[in-house]
């Protein structure tokens, strides 16, 4: 038995207008202060009001949302009793909305959420996500990433019930993204699609969105980064992130995410930048020891018209193309370039290893590394040295 879950997706110009057609009484909007300041929350509320839906905003989501923030949001939801919970923003806001919904309906703490438990969330409220970045794809996934601040680690949670009912992809919401965030989040989307397409949980259903997303990122990320006003590129990146989300949510991310999460948990490197940084190194690692991965990377390369020749050549050309794209959108290609000091990094090695070895994504790849290989990979990535083992 396997699952493939996706939300009902509304996309394209004026998609926000869908909000004035929904049925409900109260909408609880989970977002961050920047989104309210930019007036994006007002756009959502204006449409919901047309549907006679009362709105309440929680805009206290911080980057890398903590367990405490979720508890706070859930507390407000409990009093407000919404029949819609809406995550508006980047992955942090959407993930907070998902977790707040579970805590509000099930009356449990965020860490008590089990993927195998059925909480009957829809008995009280439906879940909607409206992304304002094009990267996390959280609006198309059931995954939730929270931060255990005291433990300095990311916690991956969620269940098929935390898949949003509705995702609204209105290009208006992403037009004001600054180039740095466009680059960081766009590379995250690329990472989702490449990792999801090659993961051990991949299925015939994840192939399509994975390939489509990768090609869209190669065609549009640099354009959106160079010219934020390029509406077509913005739109295509939004669709890419969404499709990449459904690819990895159903297929699982991989080593770029497990190593990137470890780095982010300790050094607070933004998510996309961290996972994107490790992606080419982990791809090389897979190429060096997994024929299956070589074949899958070659499929991607050929679909995107990258490289030529046999599978290995195409796979390596893909790695090269990933590095070139990342560099062109302001991404660091080594840990050194992020500004992390070598001595701090090396001192944190036991923690980096403990975290990455205990990430589920470390085991959903076609070549599962033990601690020794992970340590080498972390070391190579610091200096920007290609993985040769």
């Amino acid at each position: 038995m396997q699952f493939f879950g996706v939300p009902f997706t509304v996309f394209g110009d004026e998609s926000l207008q869908y909000l004035n057609t929904i049925l409900g009484k109260r909408a609880f909007i989970v977002t961050d202060k920047n989104i309210t300041k930019l007036g994006l929350a007002d756009l959502v509320i204006t449409e919901l009001k047309k549907a006679n839906i009362e709105c309440k905003i929680f805009d206290g989501v911080e980057p890398d949302p903590s367990i405490e923030t979720v508890v706070k949001a859930a507390g407000i939801a409990k009093d407000f009793k919404p029949d819609w919970v809406i995550g508006l923003g980047g992955g942090s806001s959407m993930d907070t909305a998902k977790s707040a919904l579970v805590c509000y309906v099930a009356g449990i703490g965020p860490l008590d959420m089990s993927p195998s438990e059925f909480y009957n969330l829809r008995s009280k409220a439906k879940l909607m996500c409206i992304p304002t970045t094009s990267g996390t794809g959280s609006e198309a996934t059931w995954a939730i990433v929270l931060t255990d601040v005291a433990g300095q680690r990311k916690v991956s949670l969620g269940s098929y019930e935390t898949m949003p009912d509705v995702a609204i992809l209105d290009p208006l919401m992403v037009m004001s993204m600054p180039p740095q965030i466009t680059g960081d989040t766009g590379i995250d989307a690329l990472c989702h699609a490449i990792e999801g397409y090659t993961a051990t949980w991949r299925t015939k259903f994840t192939d399509g969105p994975g390939l489509a997303a990768i090609r869209l990122v190669f065609q549009n990320l640099k354009k959106a980064y160079d010219n934020g006003k390029d509406e077509d590129a913005r739109k295509e990146m939004m669709y890419a992130a969404h499709q990449a989300g459904s690819c990895f949510s159903n297929g699982m991310p991989g080593l770029g995410h497990s190593t990137g999460h470890a780095l982010g948990g300790i050094f607070h490197t933004p998510h996309g930048r961290a996972v994107g940084l490790f992606l080419p190194y982990t791809m090389e690692y897979l190429i060096n020891g997994s024929e299956e991965a070589v074949g899958l990377f070659a499929e991607i390369a050929r679909f995107c018209k990258i490289g030529a020749g046999d599978d290995k050549k195409c796979a390596l050309a893909l790695v090269d193309a990933v590095r070139k794209l990342a560099k062109s959108v302001g991404q660091p290609l080594s840990v050194k370039e992020t500004g992390i000091k070598r001595e701090d990094y090396m001192k944190s090695m036991p923690d980096l290893l403990d975290r990455s070895v205990n990430e589920m994504m470390t085991s959903t790849v076609t070549r599962v590394p033990e601690s020794e290989d992970l340590e080498k990979m972390f070391t190579y990535a610091y200096d920007g040295k290609s993985v040769d083992f």
């Binding site: 396997q2 699952f3 008590d112 993927p115 195998s116 949980w201």
Partner: protein, 137 residues
């Protein structure tokens, strides 16, 4: 050869855990006990409870209880599945995490704690594969 769900089986499982260096390394900070529950169905006529207490890389106690005596322990975690699913997990035909998210394997307990111990959980499955197992037909 031990029959899954019996005291002989769970004792052999304990021995496999305590012989595993990989498990010991991965679980050196783990503290938490489990019920592994086998649901009624097929040859399983009564719900079975295997109790396993894991502590700092070792297994310090195992037991088998029944529906009538299940209150003997109050384990921190419960994993429940049909005999067919247990078999698939034990024979590595299905990824236990995938079995959990598709609800074939039901997990109760602090997920945050489990998610910090993924490697230990994988090594535990490796220990299961060490036990020569017969499944009730």
């Amino acid at each position: 050869m031990a029959v899954f769900g019996t005291i002989e089986w769970v004792t052999a499982f304990m021995e496999a855990i305590n012989a595993s260096k990989a498990y010991e390394d991965a679980a050196k900070t783990w503290e938490g006990d489990f019920y592994f529950i086998t649901e009624v169905g097929g040859a399983v006529k009564e719900q079975g409870y295997q109790y396993v207490d894991l502590w700092h890389g070792k297994c310090r106690k195992v037991d088998v209880v029944t529906e009538a005596t299940k209150d003997k322990y109050k384990p921190e975690f419960v994993l429940q599945a049909s005999i067919a699913t247990w078999r698939k997990v034990a024979e590595k035909k299905v990824d236990p995490i995938q079995a959990i998210v598709t609800r074939q394997l039901k997990l109760t307990g602090n997920m945050g704690k489990v998610m910090r111990a993924v490697k230990a959980a994988q090594e535990l499955v490796n220990c299961v594969t060490q036990v020569k197992t017969e499944y009730p037909e």
